[in-house]
Structures are given as C-alpha cells and as structure tokens.
C-alpha cells in the first residue's frame, strides 16, 4: 500500500515542481524517491498481508505475492530510470514524461495487488494510458506516430473485451470481489453457465493481449519497434511483468479450480507464443523487432506457470522467470540504446557489427544478456527456464516440455546472430563508443545480476 502512496505522490510532486521551476532537481528527487520506496518496501517486507483488504474496501491486498512483485516492479522502475537518465535530462518536457512514468508505475502496483475486478481494470488503464502517450513521445517521427495509434486502438479494444468479460462474470456471480468469485465457483450448487464461460474466455483473451502472447501479439512488434527505445524497454520489462503478474493473480485468487477447464486455451497460447515468437524472430533484421518477438516467446514460457498452477513451485518459477527476464531485457535494451544512439538512431542488427572492438564492455554485456535469454547455463535465464520446464514435467506435460525445448533451440540461432555480428563482422565506423560513469556502472551491475541471480536460489524462494 505504501508503495502506491509514495510513487503517486512523487508523480504529483513532479508535476508541481514544473510549476515552481525546480526542473533541475526533479530527476535526482525521483531517483531518491524510488530508492526510498524500495527501502520502505524491504523494511515492511515481513509485514506482508498486515494490511488486509478490508482496510481498502476490498480493493487491494498486500499479500506476499503482491509484495514480492511490487518490490520487483520498484527495482525495475528504479533501474529503468537510471538506465534512461538521458531520456529525461535533455528534453523540454521531461516533467511530463517522468510524471507519466510514475503514474504508470502506480498502475503496475495496482495490477499486482488487486482483489477486485474494478481495481484490475483501473490498474490496467492507469498503466496503459501513460504508455499510449509515451509510445508517441517522438512527435515528429511517423514511425512513433504509427506505433502509438496502433497501441492505443488495440489497447482500448482489448480493454473493451476485458470489461465485457468482467461484466459477464459479474452477471453470473453477482460480485466483483475475487474471493467471492472463488467461493461461488467452488461451491457445489454452482453450475457453469455459457455466460460465465464466455466471460472467462474474454478475460483470458484480454489479458493474453496485454502480455502480448500469440495469437494476440500483432501489436507488439510494431509498437516495440516504433516507440523510442527507452519506452520500448519499459514496455518489455515493467509492463510485461505487471501484466503477467496480474494474469497469474487472476487465477490464484479468482479461479484456482478453473485452470483445468480452460487448459486447452492455455495450450494454444503457449504453443503459439513459443513457435510464432521464435520462428518469426529468425527473419528479423531490426534489433527492436527481434527483441519484441523474443519477448513473445518468453511469454510462452511464463504462461507455463499459469498452466501448472496446482504445482507448489509455480509462483516461485514465475517470479524467478520474470525477474531474470526483466533484468536481462533491461541490459539488452541499454546496450541497444547506447549503440543505436551512436549510429544516429538506426536500430538495425548491423549496428552491432564489430562492437567487440569498439567497446568490449558493451559487447560483453550484450553477449551475457543474449546468452541468458537463450538459456545457456550458468546464467539466470537457464535457471528460469529449467525451473519452468521442471515444474511442467512434474505436472505431466512431457510433450509440452519437448515443444518448449525445440522452440528455444530455434531461439539460440537468432540470439547468436547478434553475438556473431558483434565479434566477427567489421564495422564501417570503428571509433570507440564513449560511456559515462553511470552507464558503465549500470552495465557492470546488470551483468552481475544476470550472472549471479540464479545461483543460490534466494530469489526463487522469496515468494
């Protein structure tokens, strides 16, 4: 709860600071505020579920699940703001962007902690509306314009479907409160009506859209490649983590028993995400589009946790997977951002040519990040995939595990395409890429996180 209050007031403060001409102070203040938010979160970690949801009119609950994901989201947000320091520092409308980001973070917090469908809807919208604006923040660029319009139209379309789903569920249950839904659906005299089924399927479709799982992924590559790189990295890490956490929470709180009835839907989502994500990524020449398709394939892995909800390790696996995935993606996007800014905004894969000679630190970080995404041991991406597949195997889905492994083998090919370009190709421009101290320390930090996070399993056992 405190997280929401801190970040929301930080957002309002940012807007006020613009009026009172404290522009220079805003960015350090926001960084300090986000850091303070993490400290408060850690200090209150043991108090998880101290606030029960009756205090918040049965809207939000800070249980362990919400607390863990809020901490993860706070850390991603802080690292993101530090990584994209220059996205804000040299712009005329930096306060608007910062305020929008801060409010989007509040939306993400609501999405991982809701106990009421109203709050789920509000969280999604509080997160999405700032993202629509930020996706189009490069106002003169037609690509950015197109990205924001596509994101907006498809996002609000998905919102409409989500709302209709919620309404149909309300119509058959009579309450928006997730634990009421759980109680009613678990009772013996509850018969599954067509209305309820359609509602749940619409809800799943809308959430699958928000996490950009295939076959609802069509917006993701376009929006990712058209938006400014900083915003893309926020979408690929923060928004995706919040959305998948909200999707998971839907099933652990509202319909824990329903997952067996809808498992065919999840088979389609998982298999389509794994194959479409990995196979189409092979043909991409734009690095941002490639990372977008790779993120779709990662969603396929994350959805395995939803499918095997009854396993004891499913929450742990999902939490660890999102943690590993987010930091890996942040590192990859940081390198991409620095490299493409150096090549005057070009984000084709060819900008990576000869990066190992131009800047070994950048090339090293990118290699570690890509190897982690491909699932090479001993990096965190390997442990994330291992936990997921082990859980699915325990649940008896051997065929799904084989499909997932085959699909991620295809993934190794396109990740290595970038690595080979960095180490063997020659660049047309062989000048060294200068890095600031902040960028250097962030690269090293992210690299260390990616390498070590999976070793002793403390992240895995946190939740």
């Amino acid at each position: 709860m405190n997280e929401i209050i801190i970040v929301a007031s930080l957002g309002i403060l940012t807007l006020l600071a613009e009026i009172f001409n404290f522009k220079k102070l805003i960015l350090p203040l926001v960084v300090a505020g986000l850091a303070a938010n993490i400290v408060v979160g850690i200090m209150e970690f043991d108090l998880a579920s101290y606030y029960n949801d009756a205090d918040t009119l049965r809207m939000i609950e800070s249980d362990l699940y919400a607390k863990c994901f809020m901490m993860l989201l706070s850390i991603i947000a802080l690292v993101w703001v530090l990584v994209n320091y220059n996205f804000f520092s040299d712009e005329t409308n930096q306060t608007d962007h910062l305020a929008l980001i801060l409010f989007a973070i509040v939306g993400g917090f609501c999405m991982v902690a809701y106990t009421n469908f109203v709050m789920l809807f509000l969280g999604i919208e509080i997160l999405s509306i700032p993202m629509y604006v930020l996706a189009g923040s490069n106002k003169r660029s037609l690509r950015s314009n197109e990205a924001t319009l596509k994101y907006f139209l498809m996002g609000s379309f998905a919102t409409g479907i989500l709302l209709f789903g919620i309404t149909l569920i309300y119509g058959s249950i009579g309450s928006f409160y997730v634990y009421d839904v759980r109680m009613k659906t678990a009772s013996v005299d509850f018969t599954i009506t067509p209305m309820f089924t359609i509602g749940v399927v619409m809800l799943i479709a809308a959430m699958a859209f928000k996490v950009s799982s295939a076959p609802f992924h069509f917006w993701a590559p376009d929006v990712y490649s058209g938006s400014p790189t900083s915003v893309t990295s926020f979408m690929a890490t923060f928004v995706k983590t919040a959305a998948i956490a909200a999707f998971m929470r839907l099933f652990i709180t509202a319909f824990p028993t329903a997952i067996e009835s809808y498992k065919n839907v999840f088979f389609i989502l998982i298999i389509a995400s794994l194959f479409i994500g990995n196979i189409i990524a092979v043909f991409q020449t734009n690095a941002k589009r490639l990372l977008a398709y790779s993120s779709i394939s990662h969603v396929g892995f994350m959805l395995l946790a939803l499918l095997c909800l009854s396993e004891a390790t499913s929450l742990k696996s999902l939490f660890f997977y999102t943690t590993a995935y987010s930091f890996t993606t942040l590192a990859a996007f940081l390198v991409l951002k620095i490299v493409s800014e150096n090549a005057s905004g070009d984000d084709d894969i060819s900008v990576f040519n000869g990066l190992a000679q131009r800047n070994p630190l950048l090339a090293g970080t990118m290699t570690i990040a890509l190897l982690s995404m491909a699932g090479i041991p001993p990096l965190s991406g390997f442990f994330a995939k291992y936990n997921m597949l082990f859980m699915a195997l325990n649940h008896g889905y051997l065929w799904l595990v084989i499909i997932a492994i085959l699909a991620s083998l295809v993934g190794v090919y396109y990740y290595f395409k970038i690595i080979i370009a960095m180490f063997t190709r020659n660049s047309t421009d062989s000048t060294a890429i200068p890095l600031s101290l902040l960028q250097k320390s962030l690269l090293v930090l992210l690299m260390l996180i990616i390498i070590t996070i999976g070793w002793n399993g403390w992240v895995f056992n946190l939740i």
Binding site: N145, L149, F157, I161, L163, Y170, M195, P221
Partner: protein, 105 residues
C-alpha cells in the same frame, strides 16, 4: 420506470451483446481512426448498459459505481486518443489508418 422494470434480463443481455458486436465489427472493418474510436466507445457503453442491468437484477450498487469508473476512464482514454489523432493528422494530413504503414514485418 414501470415499463423498464418489466423488461427481462435476457433482453438486456441480448441487446448489449448486439451493441458490443457492432462495436467489435466496426473496429475490425472501418478504416477511419475517428470511426474506430466511436466503435470502441460503443463497446464500452454497451458494457455500461449491461452493468446497470445486472446491478438492478442483483440489487447491488457496486456495478453502478463501476459504470462511473468506466465512464471516467473512457473519457481519459478518448482525450489521449484524440491528441494522438491530432498529432498524426499534423504529420500525414489524413485520419485513414491505412496511411500508416511504415512498420511492417
């Protein structure tokens, strides 16, 4: 009021499903961004109508409060959407979504 109370719930569900379907089809088939906005609004408003109908059926005011939330969010969404459309119109001089085809496979 008496006449409205006499309408069975099924009729509301049918009407709202039809309105929602019209909205969905409009989003899928129309090519003008403004008309697509209106179709999305139609989808949201059909949800509002259905929520109010259910609210009466269950005598539960939660759904009516939710309607206000949806209206507020829809207003925010449309204001952002119109701003996006204005920005695009300045750059391309059209609101046809087929004009935006820079991002492709």
């Amino acid at each position: 009021m008496e006449i409205i109370k006499g309408v069975p719930l099924t009729s509301y569900i049918l009407l709202c499903s039809m309105l929602f379907s019209i909205g969905v089809l409009g989003v899928l088939y129309r090519r003008n961004a403004l008309v697509i906005f209106m179709c999305i609004e139609l989808m949201l408003n059909s949800v509002n109508l259905l929520l109010v109908a259910f609210s009466r059926y269950y005598s539960d005011s939660n759904a009516q409060v939710f309607v206000f939330f949806i209206m507020a969010v829809a207003a925010a969404e449309v204001s952002v959407g119109l701003a996006i459309l204005m920005m695009i119109y300045r750059n391309t001089k059209t609101t046809d979504i087929d004009a935006l085809n820079k991002l492709k496979f």
